[in-house]
Structures are given as C-alpha cells and as structure tokens.
C-alpha cells in the first residue's frame, strides 16, 4: 500500500520522458525534411549559398485583394532573385493572426516576419523585446524618405522603429449620392445637427442611414472617436487622459457619448447592428442598402468594385456644436510589418523587408490600390484610370491638418475592451453619459 504508488509514479515519469524524447525525435525528422525550418537550423550566420526559410505571417487571405496580389508578386520576385531563400507564407484572417501572434509571443517564438497593429497595440511586444529594431532597414536604399512624414512615429519606441506600416488611412464619411437624392438631401452636412437631420430624413424614407457591423466592436468605436475629436475641439483627448490632465468625466467625452446616443435613438444604424460582423456591415453599404458608411479610406477600392461604384462620394465628419475642425481626421495607420528579434536569419529577413517595402508603392499603384498607402506615391491617378471616388479621397488626404489614433491604439488592451463593450452597449440600451464616463475612468485607473 505504501510502496506501490511510488513505483507507479516512477513508471509514469520514466515513460513520460521516453514519450517526450520519442516525440522530439519524430519531430526533428519531420522538420528537417522539406526545407530546414528556422527551428531546426542552428547557426546564426548564413552565408550566401545556405538554404534559408523565412516564415512570413500575414493577414491577406483573400487572394483577389490587391494587398494579397502585391504580396504574392513581391515574394515570388524576391525568391527568384535569391534562389537560396524560401518565404513560407502563413496566411490568416486578422482575428486569428492576432490570437496566434499573442500565443507565439508567450513562448518567445514569433515568426521571422509578422504583422502588428501600431502604437499601444504593439507596445507589449516591444516591451518584451520580441521585435528587432528596423533603423538599419530604413537607412538602406533611402527607404526612410519614402514614408510620409510623421507616420513612422506610430511604430517607434525610444527612438527605434519596430514596424513598417502597410497602409495609412483616414476616416471619412462615404455616402451614396443616389440615396441622398431620394431623401431629398441636396448638400452634404457640415454640422452634426445637419447630419442628424439627414439621418432622420433618410430614415423617414425607409433607408438605413448608416451602415455598421458592430459585432466587431471596433467599428462603433471608430465612429465614436470622430465625434470625440470634434467635441474636444481638436486632437489629443485620450493623450491628455493618459497624461492625467483630463479625465473621462470631461464634458468633451460625455457630450460625445450623448451625441452618439442621439444617433442611435434617431435610428441611424441597421436593426440588430450588434450581431452584424464588420464584413457584413460594409456589405450593407456596398449593396446600396444604406446611405452612409463611416470607416477608413481603405474601403475605397472595395467600394469601387462593388455594385454602388460610381454613386459614392466622401466627405469630412461634421463639426459638433460648432466645435472641432473639419480638417482634423481620425487617423488609421495600417498594420505594420515587424521582424522577430530572435530570427535565425535576421539579416536575410531585413534584406527582404527592405526589398518588399521599397517596391510595394509601385506594385500597389499598378494594382489600383494607391489610396491609403503609407508611402509617397508617384504618378497621376487620373491618368492611371483611378475612379472619381479615389481622387476625391486623395483630395481629402491633402487636407489633413492633424488627428487622433483609434482608441485601442492609444489605450492599453484592458481599458480598450471596457470601452468597446461600453459602446456596444449603447446600441442596445440607453445609458446616462456620465455613467459611461465613470465606467471608462474606473477601468483606466484600475489598469494604469
């Protein structure tokens, strides 16, 4: 009775070790066979002829999209110029990629090349020293000067750049001219009151005023931040909160919540918005079932290839109670390409990234995807056959005077989740703005 358990434990341990080592052997064989993956190859200094495999984790699963086409084209080109390098694409949809990267980060084993959101969302990875600084990549071949001024700040920490963006967008109001005409609206709104009146006019005609897919909570937050940008009289509200000079109980914030609730009450959004995912939400607009759509300019290309192409224009988010500047925009710097600091072939990865980002603008331009690029684009859009909408949007870009980043790019994830859920709640029940502010403030203080 006393002796036996120990014996059994011994057997268990011994055999578990055995199984583990067997499993390890099996895996080595498996790994080595096709390509010598990063995990298998030991030495850190690859010479020219050595076979190198890089894993490139990306968020371009739709092979018909310009971003995916550009990626496949550039990867193929690089591989043909460097026959010893193989780029293994690990293509996932956005949500899954975020989950996977976080899980990989826990084991300090992130892919050679991966993608990450800017500012607050990439900070935990940088703090954990998982990303390699890219300053030397930017210095090579004058890559740094191709980026739009100030953009790289969103990816920089302590003077080092850790990711290179795949886009740079602003938020605008897309509107369907045909549906506006049906509701008898002849001018685009420049104040929130006009905007609200238009919403009501559209609603009265049985047209859904604003498309949204609030199951993905960031969509509502995007819209809300536009209002906050105005009620605050300009950018910087969240930064001030972080700095401690303002709190969420500030009237700028509560007014923004109240205005947002006015939109909900006026029936601006589709029924059941909180169960519609972001894709389905944008499809409501793209199939001509909603009159307006407030989102990043990355939608431009997709709108142009949808059934409402040619009927869509874009305008700036209106001022609220006379506050704010039309030329302040919500800024949406794109997901950035980052390199693993522990990559076995960091120098090759850096060379590839330099090649990739140098050539991306031209490839994207040819693929009719020049709107919202992070880099300066040379070429005449009109001559290249871009749509009126694309040119209109590019024109709005030129008006950008300043702006804010989205909530989850400014605040830490825990506070962001509270914010996103609180906003989603506004879609289904009315809450006192002061209570919403308090919830934010409490979460902020608990997660400083």
């Amino acid at each position: 009775m006393t002796k036996k358990p120990f014996k059994t434990v011994g057997v268990v341990l011994a055999s578990s070790l055995l199984t583990l080592s067997l499993a390890a052997c099996g895996s080595n064989n498996n790994n080595a066979a096709p390509s010598g993956s990063p995990a298998a190859s030991g030495s850190a200094s690859p010479n020219k002829g050595e076979k190198v495999t890089l894993t490139f984790q990306n968020i371009y699963p739709d092979e018909t999209s310009p971003s995916a086409k550009a990626m496949h084209q550039l990867v193929a080109q690089y591989e043909s110029e460097h026959p010893n390098v193989k780029i293994e694409l690990d293509t996932l949809n956005t949500d899954q990629q975020k989950l996977k990267l976080k899980t990989q980060a826990a084991s300090k084993e992130i892919p050679d090349i991966t993608m990450v959101n800017p500012a607050a969302q990439m900070k935990p990875f940088v703090d954990a020293k998982l990303f390699a600084p890219l300053n030397d990549v930017l210095d090579k071949n004058g890559l740094k000067d191709t980026y739009q001024g100030g953009l790289l700040d969103n990816y920089s920490f302590d003077g080092n750049v850790y990711a290179l963006p795949d886009g740079n967008n602003i938020e605008v109001v897309f509107y369907n001219k045909e549906l506006f005409a049906q509701a008898g609206i002849d001018k685009i709104p420049t104040t929130f009151d006009e905007f609200l009146a238009d919403v009501k006019a559209l609603k009265a005609k049985g047209i859904t005023p604003l498309a949204i897919g609030e199951k993905d909570t960031w969509t509502g937050s995007f819209l809300f931040m536009n209002i906050l940008l105005r009620t605050n009289g300009g950018p910087g509200f969240l930064k001030d909160v972080v700095a401690g000079t303002k709190t969420f109980n500030d009237p700028a914030f509560t007014t923004a919540v109240a205005k947002f609730e006015e939109l909900v009450k006026a029936g601006a959004f589709p029924d059941g918005a909180t169960s519609i995912d972001a894709n389905a939400g944008s499809n409501i607009f793209k199939t001509g079932k909603a009159a307006m759509f407030i989102l990043g300019t990355w939608e431009t290309g997709a709108i142009d290839s949808s059934s409402v192409a040619g009927k869509v224009g874009a305008f700036q988010f209106p001022t609220v109670d006379g506050k704010g500047d039309l030329n302040d925009f919500m800024l949406a710097p794109g997901t950035g390409f980052a390199l693993s600091a522990n990559s076995k072939h960091l120098d090759v990865a850096k060379d590839f990234l330099n090649f990739y980002t140098l050539n991306l603008p031209k490839v994207q331009f040819d693929l009719k995807n020049a709107v919202g690029q992070p880099q300066k684009v040379d070429g005449d859009l009109k001559a290249a056959g871009y749509s009126d909408l694309a040119i209109e949007v590019m024109d709005l870009f030129s008006k950008v005077k300043g702006g804010d980043l989205s909530f989850d790019n400014t605040m830490n994830p825990a506070v962001s989740q509270v914010h996103l859920n609180a906003l989603q709640n506004l879609f289904v029940q009315s809450v006192d703005p002061a209570a919403v502010a308090k919830e934010h403030q409490t979460a902020f203080e608990a997660n400083k």
Binding site: T103, N421, Q424, Q429
Partner: protein, 315 residues
C-alpha cells in the same frame, strides 16, 4: 489529511464499478494498457491546466514580464467582476436547458420506436445538424434571427402571421439574445440525444415487453415500468454529455454574438477567452480557467452521485 479525505470521497462516489473483475494482471501489463492514453492526456491536458492554476496567480499580459500577485486575480474574479457571475449563471442555465431536453428526446425515441417501422433513417436525418460545422450553423441561424429589415426568416414569419408585436431583434436584445443561442444549441443537439436514447430504447429485448403484456402492462404503462428503468444508464451518458457540451460551449457563442451585446451573452469560456486574449490579462483569464476546472470537478462528482442513486433505485 485533507487529501486523503478527498480521495475517499471520490472513491466512494465511484464504488459502483465493483463488478467482479477476473483478470489479475501484473503492474507492467496495467501500465502497457493505461499509459499511452494517460501520458498523452496528462501532458496535453493536465499539465496545461496545472500551469493555468499557476498563471492565475500572476499579473501577466501573456507576453512580457509577469508579477506574482497571489490570489488577487481570484479575489477580483469572485468579488469584483460584474460580468463573471452572470456568465456562470448563463453557463449553468445552459447546462440545465440541455439536460431538460433529454427527457423530450426520450419521449420522441419511444414514439419513433412505437409508430415508425424503419426509424433508423429518420434518426440519422435528425442527426445531420450535429455533423455540420459551427460556422455553418451560426451563419444559418443568424439569417433566421436577423431583423425583419434584413430579411430575417423568423421575424418575417411572425409578420406574415400578423404577430408584428412578437418580432424581436433576437440576437441583439440583451434580455433575449442568450435564449436565442440556447435554442440553436438545443436544436442542434436534439438529434444527438435522440440518437442515444433511440438506440437505447431499441435495444431493450422485445421479450420483456411481451412478458409485460401478458401481465397487462401495455403502451405507456409498459414504458413506465420497463423502458424508463432500463434506460437509466443511457440517460446518465446523455446527461453527462449534455453537461459537458454546455460547459464547453464556445464556438457557437463566438460565431453568433461574440459574447455581446456588452457581455449579455458571455458564458464562462468566452469570458475567459476575451479576458486572456482580448483584454490581454492572461493571468486573470487563467484564474477563470482554474475556476472552470474546479466547477467541472464539483459537478462531475455531483452528477455521478445523483445518477448512481437513481440507478440503484431502479436496478
């Protein structure tokens, strides 16, 4: 001391399996039979859960540095998280709802067995929703539940019946959304439990019924005295499977509402997932996972205890 008490409790619950066993085998034979599954199982399931108990005591975002904070996460979970207990309640209600479904499946199984000659095909048909992936089920039911303006079928039917006041935003009204999801799950697993019950009913030897008939027990009277007692063991399987299914329910909620609107459809597992990976409070998420494991342990024991009582009463 306490440890041996727990073991005693566990063993007392499991005493039922004291069928006289014939095979006296040496320890190494036992090891050969048990260890392959047990080792894989321990490495893949038990060690990670053990790790979760540990990470539950950390302030950790899952990526960078971690800090030991003792039971702070557990304290916050039990006393300071306004969304946790509601999610436990929803999970348990889920479990109760799926268990309530089982007698209905049994009744249906009895009916099929009595009125339909080749019921096997029907049972197979009823099983189809189980084999489809949750992605399909979720998409389908979203289109059924959609608001009328988006062509939702359920609301469309209600309107055409003149029951306009009955229409709802089934997945977005906080008070209704969770029940809408329960319904989908009950619908999907109806065939599953029906299949289990049906095969149980079918395998009761017909001689027993014939004998009962001679004694004057027929129809539902025979069910009362023969079918139900004989089906108790099967019932136990169904109950356990239903309970497990409801605790693990994750995919369906994620596909249909993601736990929203504003936590209104959060169950324990989605709350855990969102805390761990969305809020990036991995330590806190681990505390939720640990709680879930303890809850599972408690309920496994309770279910076994109750079912053994019932079994003993009937057999």
């Amino acid at each position: 001391m306490r440890c041996s008490f727990v073991f005693g409790l566990i063993l007392s619950v499991y005493k039922e399996a004291t069928v006289l066993k014939v095979l006296k085998v040496p320890a190494h034979t036992i090891a050969v039979f048990i260890l392959p599954a047990l080792l894989i199982y321990i490495c893949i399931v038990f060690i990670p859960i053990g790790v979760s108990f540990y990470t539950g005591t950390l302030d950790w975002n899952g990526i960078g540095e971690s800090k030991f904070i003792g039971f702070d996460n557990f304290h916050r979970l039990l006393f300071n998280d306004p969304f946790f207990w509601p999610s436990v309640k929803r999970t348990l209600l889920y479990a109760v709802a799926s268990m309530v479904e089982i007698p209905i499946c049994l009744l249906m199984a009895v009916l099929l067995n009595r009125y339909v000659r080749k019921a096997n095909t029907l049972v197979s048909i009823y099983f189809t929703p189980v084999i489809l992936s949750v992605v399909i089920i979720g998409q389908l039911w979203k289109t059924i539940y959609n608001p009328e303006s988006m062509g939702g079928m359920l609301n469309g039917i209600l309107v055409s019946l003149g029951l306009d006041s009955w229409t709802h935003n089934w997945l977005t009204e906080p008070k209704i959304a969770m029940y809408s999801i329960y319904l989908v799950s009950l619908w999907q697993y109806f065939g599953y439990h029906l299949l289990i019950q049906f095969t149980g009913v079918q395998n009761i030897p017909s001689e027993i019924y014939e004998a009962a008939k001679i004694d004057g027990a027929d129809g539902f009277k025979a069910d009362r005295y023969i079918t139900f007692p004989m089906i108790v063991p099967i019932f136990k399987i169904s109950i356990v499977l239903a309970f497990i299914g409801s605790l693990q329910q994750f995919d369906l909620v994620m596909v249909m509402t993601g736990g929203g609107p504003a936590h209104a459809t959060d169950v324990i597992s989605t709350h855990m997932y969102n805390s761990s990976f969305m809020s990036q409070q991995y330590g806190y998420g681990s505390a939720i996972a640990s709680f879930l494991v303890v809850l599972c342990l408690a309920f496994t024991l309770v279910i076994n205890y109750v079912m053994n009582k019932v079994e003993r009463k009937y057999t």
